[in-house]
């Protein structure tokens, strides 16, 4: 073991930390009381702590390569990760404490990995190991997720805030699954997916406002309109691939948003549309005093009115919509059209040589992906009660695409994990205040380093060996 090299390496890491921490952590601007200006507060103590922490963390990571150091390091880091939250340091140094805990936990996991899983590392290639893990996650966690999602609203820890967050995450899960059809399966990079979300939302809002149709009547219409727009977008981009396709879809997304922003008589322009009708449960509204001639939900079931009924109903609504999307995608992958999408992603020329019509194949992918965005859009409108073009900016498309890519293109469970990570984690990091986005960014960088092909970059064959004993299907 080369002690000098180890110290040099750790020292270098500590130096980099110092250079970064000095301006970012060392100085803080604070409002002077009375609002007359700001003053600078120095926090050199925190800088020193960071530098020391990074030094020892780096040293620990390097020492992990030596097998006889693994167990003591595992014990030490696990001890710090578990013990530190019990100490009173939290109150004084919340950020530093939590960073130490997270870093120790990472080192502990790494040490445990190396200690107990050496056989897995030797002799099997990375993609295979990831594939096994992903297949395992898919088989066991899928049903567990569904069951958890079903009982989620009734868990004692679920507050209204958490339930709202659950609805938000599920909305993005559904959008991710919808975009997965276009990007993950058919391999068409779509940067303007939010346009179809907008079409669905505005379709519902306008049809419900002007024609008085209920949510359930509007839902298929919203999907239909969105699918129609999917085909409209599909035609001009049929011949494009890769970067060029991405640019045109990006433009399409912006066109929809800008039209909505400027066509005031139709969409209300920047003011949006307010008073979008709320959904009802089999025609029964969620309202303390329902209008004449209707029975409210709480009256029918003879329970006290609670505003939470509607939230729980919305939660189950989006859960069902998302699961339908998932089920549909899983089924269609095994049908000729789904297989054709995947083949098209792999090699368009080969597809043509096998008698696949690429035009129809691409258009159906766009249409079906858009349809699910349309459903999600209608849900969004009824949940918010108010929509405006601001909700459909490019950043939404980027987030949805990030969910698909981060999850591992084409992986259904991966989308769920990525949506929880991308939508849920920033909420959980709120306690970190201004460091929230920093932690979020660090998480993203970490994932891209350890999982460069996405969280679960695994493709399940659409026909399995067991099904095909004797070369059948």
């Amino acid at each position: 073991m080369d002690v000098r090299a180890l110290l040099k390496d750790a020292g270098l890491a500590a130096f980099v930390t110092f250079m970064l921490a000095l301006p970012m952590i060392g100085f803080q601007t604070v409002d002077v009381s009375g609002g007359v200006g700001i003053t600078v507060v120095t926090r050199f103590g925190d800088v020193a702590i960071s530098v020391v922490l990074v030094f020892f963390g780096r040293l620990a990571l390097s020492l992990l390569q030596q097998s006889n150091w693994r167990l003591p390091l595992l014990a030490l880091s696990a001890g710090i990760a578990l013990g530190l939250p019990l100490l009173k340091t939290q109150a004084h140094y919340p950020v530093i404490t939590w960073l130490t805990v997270i870093a120790s936990a990472v080192i502990a996991i790494r040490a445990a990995w190396l200690t107990f899983d050496v056989s897995g590392v030797v002799g099997r290639d990375e993609s295979n190991r990831m594939g096994d893990a992903a297949a395992f996650v898919g088989r066991w966690f899928g049903p567990v997720f569904v069951v958890f999602a079903l009982i989620f609203p009734f868990l004692p820890t679920t507050s209204r805030y958490v339930l709202d967050l659950g609805i938000l995450v599920l909305t993005y899960v559904m959008l991710g699954w919808g975009l997965n059809v276009v990007v993950g399966l058919a391999g068409l990079l779509d940067l303007g997916y939010v346009a179809f979300y907008a079409v669905g939302a505005y379709s519902y809002a306008i049809i419900a406002r002007d024609f008085g149709l209920t949510f359930w009547a509007c839902l298929p219409l919203a999907g239909l309109f969105a699918a129609f727009f999917g085909v409209i977008l599909g035609f001009p981009v049929l011949r494009l691939r890769g970067d060029y396709l991405a640019i045109v879809t990006l433009g399409f997304g912006e066109i929809i948003r800008i039209v909505l922003l400027n066509w005031t008589s139709f969409s209300g322009g920047p003011n949006g549309i307010s008073g979008v009708p709320r959904p009802s449960f089999l025609g029964m509204p969620f309202h303390p005093n329902p209008p004449e001639g209707t029975t409210s939900f709480h009256q029918f079931f003879n329970i006290d009115f609670s505003a939470e009924h509607r939230i729980v109903f919305l939660y189950y609504l989006i859960l069902v919509l998302a699961l339908v999307t998932n089920f549909f995608t899983l089924r269609i992958r095994r049908l000729p059209i789904g297989r054709a999408w995947e083949a098209l992603r792999e090699d368009e020329i080969a597809c043509r040589a096998l008698g696949i019509n690429p035009t129809n194949t691409k258009l159906t992918a766009f249409a079906i992906g858009a349809m699910f965005a349309g459903f999600a859009g209608a849900f969004f409108a009824t949940r918010q009660g108010f929509i405006s073009p601001e909700s459909f900016s490019f950043i939404e498309s980027a987030v949805i695409l990030a969910i698909v890519v981060l999850g591992g293109m084409g992986s259904q469970i991966g989308v769920v994990l990525a949506a929880i990570l991308l939508i849920g984690i920033p909420e959980f990091f709120r306690e970190l205040a201004q460091f929230r986005m920093l932690a979020f960014g660090a998480a993203m960088v970490g994932i891209m380093i350890w999982r460069p092909r996405g969280l679960l970059a695994h493709r399940d064959p659409s026909i399995r060996l067991a099904d095909s004993a004797g070369a059948g299907r």
Partner: protein, 236 residues
């Protein structure tokens, strides 16, 4: 069965084929040999309608297919194992075969699979494996097997020997002879490996600079001094 009459093809301003005439009769193996850039692959792609012929006519079973889109041509009974194999690397061997059966009746699938596995037993062993992990020779076998899945009446092969070890080339060529002799499959074979191709083929054409310069039976061409000098010199 396949009649190519005066076909010309261009890429933009560059004309790749200048009035090519080729005839493939039912039950034959016909080979097209030529140097790099002679236009062999272009001719094969033109038969499949990508790129379209700018002049001349291509008749398949007496129907003009020169204006039909590629996927329609495949449905008429022409299958192609394209240059560079072009298998679907992330899909399994079995899924690749399934894609080959896109235009075939699903009822035949099991039977056709068995037939392909009989021709290439290695594919049977590898059927659950991702196609991208196969060796070059296995990928070529998969490419040919995939083309056979559509039950074509005419099989187009583009350089099946490209980049393969001599042993594998021999094996693949013997399978081509097999499907021709036992099943009466008509084969149009484009090759650089002139020696093997001419030995296998009933008739052959030599293409140079987008024109057919020589034609005859395989044996005739093998004995031809020009062919020997240009394509067979220095072994095979």
């Amino acid at each position: 069965m396949l009649t190519i009459r005066g076909v010309s093809t261009s890429y933009g301003h560059i004309q790749a084929l200048h009035g090519v005439d080729i005839e493939v009769r039912k039950g034959e193996i016909v080979t097209l040999i030529g140097a790099n850039g002679a236009g062999k692959t272009t001719l094969l792609m033109t038969i499949c309608g990508n790129p379209r012929a700018t002049g001349g006519r291509i008749l398949f079973e007496d129907r003009d297919i020169s204006q039909a889109p590629t996927f329609e041509i495949v449905r008429m009974g022409i299958a192609q194992a394209p240059e560079g194999r072009r298998i679907f690397p992330r899909m399994t061997v079995l899924e690749n075969l399934q894609m080959g059966a896109t235009v075939a009746d699903p009822a035949h699938f099991d039977e056709d699979c068995t037939r392909v596995f009989k021709l290439f037993p290695i594919l049977d062993e590898r059927k659950a494996q991702r196609a991208g992990t196969l060796s070059g020779g296995e990928q070529q076998m998969l490419s040919i097997g995939r083309a056979l899945m559509s039950r074509p009446r005419l099989l187009l092969l583009d350089e099946p020997s490209l980049g393969l070890a001599p042993m594998i080339v021999k094996q693949i060529f013997s399978v081509i002879r097999d499907i021709n002799e036992r099943e009466g499959m008509t084969v149009f074979l484009v090759e650089q490996n002139a020696f093997h191709a001419l030995k296998l083929a009933h008739r052959g054409y030599v293409l140079a600079n987008g024109r057919v310069v020589l034609q005859g039976t395989g044996a005739e061409l093998l004995a031809n001094r020009e062919v020997r000098a240009a394509y067979l010199e220095g072994g095979h």
